[in-house]
């Protein structure tokens, strides 16, 4: 897990919990099952290594709460 995170960079998928209203759109739309809802009904990253940066979550988040970073080369 730690290894996978570091390969992606820890801030690659950033979720502003304060803005997340828990609609679960990001979870439903992610083709790689990277996201899940946590106990507080907020989106959270559970499978970061699977992220293919399609940005579906980012562009469909109605609350501007998700940002996918640009992968460093």
């Amino acid at each position: 897990m730690n290894k996978a995170l570091s390969s992606l960079g820890p801030s690659d998928i950033s979720i502003k919990s304060k803005w997340c209203k828990g609609c679960r759109i990001c979870v439903a739309i992610c083709p790689k099952k990277v996201l899940a809802m946590d106990a507080q009904h907020k989106a959270t990253v559970v499978n970061p290594e699977a992220c293919n940066r399609c940005r579906m979550c980012e562009t469909h988040c109605p609350d501007f709460a998700i940002e996918i970073g640009v992968k460093e080369t």
């Binding site: 304060k18 469909h60 609350d63």
Partner: protein, 277 residues
């Protein structure tokens, strides 16, 4: 996206007021991206809106923003644009706002072909007041004011716009928001009155009552129900029932109002100077 938000939104006003799963934020995001692509000067761009959930979008945008009265956004926008044609004007409205109380303004704005872009957030319901049916609520749907189902036929917004004289008409959904952004860009670049219908989910006041699931379910349903203009061409009427046709639906050339008025000014001034001599 985040840097666009910081440039174009009044960040201190966020998070916005919209309910969990409401698609209005997605439409707002598309508009922000479209304006960025258009490269419009924020100082020279005016965002006009009516009254309703979607019309609150104007307040979050770092532009000259004008949140007007219910249904009247296009009439206010007409004053802004005619007074200062150099300003870029976007008009954000909801479905009830634009086609019920604002229906008259809508058809006449289309007829005049003044250069502005109307973006209608179509969530099929009056959301702000808690779920009353609108002219864009499909038949046989439940609303607080249609507890036994709607019996009124709904408008097809795009057909209405086209028939009234709009010279650019397009439709997309919040699911297809990259397309939505592209259509907004094309609409704004089009000279004349352009209309973009954005299909957006209202899970709280519409979806729940009609057993359409939550915001995520409604968003995915847009994906299922959408057909492109091209696909639609080869589909029959029955096949198209319940489908959402997305893409550029209509485009035409017609003289633009403020340019025509500029000619009126030249004509009047020429006549007046002749009269003096």
């Amino acid at each position: 996206m985040q840097e666009h938000l910081e440039t174009y939104l009044r960040m201190e006003r966020l998070p916005h007021i919209w309910c969990p799963g409401c698609g209005n934020g997605i439409v707002l995001g598309s508009l922000v991206k479209a304006i960025h692509e258009l490269g419009y000067d924020q100082d020279k761009t005016v965002i006009v809106s009516g009254i309703g959930c979607s019309s609150r979008a104007a307040g979050y945008m770092d532009f000259n923003t004008l949140h007007t009265t219910h249904g009247r956004a296009l009439a206010f926008a007409t004053g802004v644009k005619l007074a200062k044609p150099e300003l870029k004007v976007f008009v954000l409205m909801g479905d009830g706002d634009a086609t019920a109380i604002g229906g008259n303004h809508f058809i006449h704005a289309a007829r005049r072909n003044m250069d502005m872009t109307a973006i209608i957030f179509n969530n099929n319901i009056y959301g702000m007041t808690g779920g009353q049916y609108s002219p864009l609520t499909p038949e046989d749907r439940r609303a607080t004011t249609a507890p036994y189902g709607t019996i009124e036929r709904n408008f097809d917004l795009a057909e209405l716009a086209k028939a009234a004289g709009a010279t650019y008409v397009a439709r997309s959904t919040t699911y297809h928001n990259s397309l939505l952004t592209r259509l907004m860009v094309a609409a704004a670049r089009h000279k004349g009155f352009s209309v973009v219908e954005a299909i957006t989910a209202c899970p709280v006041a519409y979806g729940r009552r009609n057993k359409l699931g939550d915001g995520a379910d409604m968003l995915l349903a847009q994906k299922e129900n959408a057909v492109t203009v091209k696909q639609a061409e080869s589909m029959g009427k029955d096949e198209l029932a319940g489908k959402i046709v997305i893409g550029e639906l209509y485009q035409a050339e017609a003289p633009e109002y403020t340019e025509l008025y500029q000619q009126i000014i030249q004509r009047a001034q020429a006549r007046a100077s002749k009269g003096c001599n």
